[in-house]
């Protein structure tokens, strides 16, 4: 059986949902799946990747590997490729995943396809479908070279759970000073429980909300729904909300089950970042707002009246 490697990203000792998607994707490819995990992670968490289809986890637990050390991860993965004889390496698309996958591709001379949304069609070559033009189109590409790196788009594959448990092996890659040339001096984590790029529901506000002081109701709705909060570009440009909440072509691209846009006009650049969502809801006082053309459900009304009512309705349905 062919050997497949997965870069299993974690934050604060927990695997990201997208890492479980990547492991599930690798398992679907059919082969011996080995996940590579870095930093301080507990044994039970490591084993839990077995539930998603990993047979083995190579764990490089050195403290130096806790943070996003791009070069070190790429070097370590290249060694893991060598060690396992893997022909395919699976990533989940993320700011870190992209950076590491690119270096690894150049290092081991592999073909790279990112934003992949399908399993390969191997009837004639090794053809995967990629999302391009910021979700406006797809392209089918044949990955020719022997070794292949696939970065899977978020929410494009389901997480499989079969109750398995992975065997964990400690892994000590040979890393040098150049792998740690970039010194991480400080890390700042956003507040809030739900991270925007991973959220299953997103409540987002635009310039129609008039000012930062009006975000209480956005946050309350988000908290009732267990959602993350997002915003349009002008809102983050004006400093009403932090930059990491900026959704769209030039910001975070989200693909939640549900995206609720409040007081956002629906400019094409905003839609580019959200149109991979399963269901789009628009709340806008202007019936001609372009968002209604893209949305599945719409309410024409004043956000300051509609949102409080919606919060009550969600509360009532949660009870």
């Amino acid at each position: 059986m062919s050997s497949i490697l997965v870069f299993a990203e974690s934050t604060d000792g927990k695997f990201k949902k997208t890492s479980r998607e990547a492991v599930s994707y690798a398992a679907e490819l059919g082969g011996d799946v080995t996940a590579v995990a870095f930093g301080d992670i507990e044994q039970s968490e490591l084993e839990s990747l077995g539930n998603n289809g990993a047979g083995k986890v190579l764990h490089a637990g050195d403290d130096k590997l806790n943070q996003g050390v791009i070069q070190a991860y790429a070097s370590a993965l290249a060694q893991a490729v060598e060690q396992t004889g893997a022909e395919i390496v699976v990533f989940s698309k993320s700011s870190l995943g992209d950076a590491v996958a690119a270096r690894l591709a150049a290092k081991i001379g592999a073909a790279l396809a990112s934003n992949v949304v399908s399993l390969p069609d191997t009837s004639n070559g090794f053809v995967v479908k990629r999302s391009i033009y910021t979700n406006k189109a797809f392209v089918n590409v044949d990955m020719k070279e022997g070794k292949k790196i696939i970065a899977v788009k978020k929410n494009a594959v389901g997480i499989k759970e079969d109750g398995g448990s992975a065997t964990v092996e400690s892994f000590s890659p040979d890393l040098g000073d150049t792998d740690f040339a970039v010194k991480i001096t400080k890390t700042e984590k956003a507040e809030g429980d739900v991270l925007l790029p991973e959220a299953d529901i997103v409540v987002s506000g635009g310039r129609g909300l008039k000012g930062p002081e009006n975000w209480d109701m956005v946050e309350e709705l988000a908290s009732e729904l267990g959602a993350a909060t997002g915003c349009s570009k002008p809102v983050s440009d004006m400093g009403w909300r932090p930059h990491h909440e900026h959704v769209g072509q030039t910001g975070v691209k989200v693909a939640p089950s549900l995206y609720i846009a409040i007081g956002i006009s629906g400019a094409i650049q905003h839609l580019a970042g959200v149109n991979a969502s399963k269901v789009l809801v628009a709340i806008n006082k202007d019936p001609e707002a372009p968002f209604f053309k893209a949305a599945d459900y719409g309410i024409v009304g004043d956000a300051f009246e509609v949102v409080p009512k919606l919060i009550d309705a969600v509360k009532a349905s949660n009870d």
């Binding site: 950076a99 690119a102 590409v141 700042e188 072509q249």
Partner: protein, 245 residues
């Protein structure tokens, strides 16, 4: 300091995306081309660094002659000279090989790119070039300051940021708020006409991926409108029809 800024020539963000020739070619009729928005941030920061720290800024594009107006715009914004590698940018790997080749010949102190292209959204060229040159690579970079031989940066991580330090030279993929986009002024546009734009041949690479065909996403259905006085209906539909709550 010598700064290289790599720019893409991409359809304007409002372009309608469609394909011709049995879905094997991008339909460029009526499409306006721009500097990739992320690359535009990188360029703006490079021009600021030129003003504050003293530097020469070279822009590089891998593309056919059609991209020259886009390159001239970068010169008008403040780059000193430009290089065009005369080839169709078939994929990220091909582009990275070209950039690495130029960089090896010119010893830049800083190579700035966008975090990703807005056509193929690969987010890969900076990492590949870094690896090919044996230099550190970082992306997405949100702030960049240079003191002496050291750069201080903030890099976006999911749900937050990370502050890093690294010695020059290195490769960075940029995004906002690293700088504000610059609009060329009249003087810039005039001087851009006479700034050097060198056209060079591409180096050979092995092809690692081959494009088969394009697809468009399925058409969206109509938007179901809900009475603002009956928001309970929305919650009910999200729960029982769309099944997302």
């Amino acid at each position: 300091m010598k700064i290289l800024v790599c720019i893409t020539h991409v359809p304007d963000t409002t372009s309608k995306i469609s394909f011709t020739d049995n879905n094997t070619k991008f339909d460029s009729s009526g499409v306006q081309y721009i500097i990739g928005p992320y690359d535009d941030y990188a360029l703006a920061r490079a021009v600021e660094l030129k003003e504050s720290n003293g530097a020469t800024v070279t822009v590089l594009n891998v593309g056919t002659s059609e991209t020259e107006p886009t390159i001239r715009k970068a010169l008008a914004i403040g780059a000193d000279d430009a290089i065009r590698v005369d080839a169709f940018p078939e994929n990220g790997h091909f582009v990275a090989e070209q950039i690495a080749h130029i960089a090896k010949e010119n010893n830049y102190d800083l190579i700035l790119m966008g975090r990703e292209s807005i056509d193929y959204n690969g987010g890969a060229v900076h990492g590949m070039v870094g690896e090919m040159l044996g230099l550190p690579s970082l992306s997405p970079v949100m702030t960049l300051d240079i003191e002496g031989n050291t750069a201080k940066m903030a890099r976006e991580i999911e749900g937050g940021k990370e502050y890093v330090e690294v010695d020059l030279p290195f490769v960075a993929g940029c995004q906002e708020p690293i700088a504000e986009w610059k609009i060329p002024n009249m003087r810039g546009i005039m001087t851009a006409r006479t700034k050097p734009l060198n056209v060079v041949e591409a180096v050979d690479t092995t092809e690692k991926t081959e494009l088969k065909n394009y697809e468009l996403p399925p058409e969206k259905g109509d938007c179901k409108m809900i009475d603002p006085d009956n928001v309970e209906e929305l919650v009910d539909l999200l729960k029982n029809e769309a099944k997302v709550l």
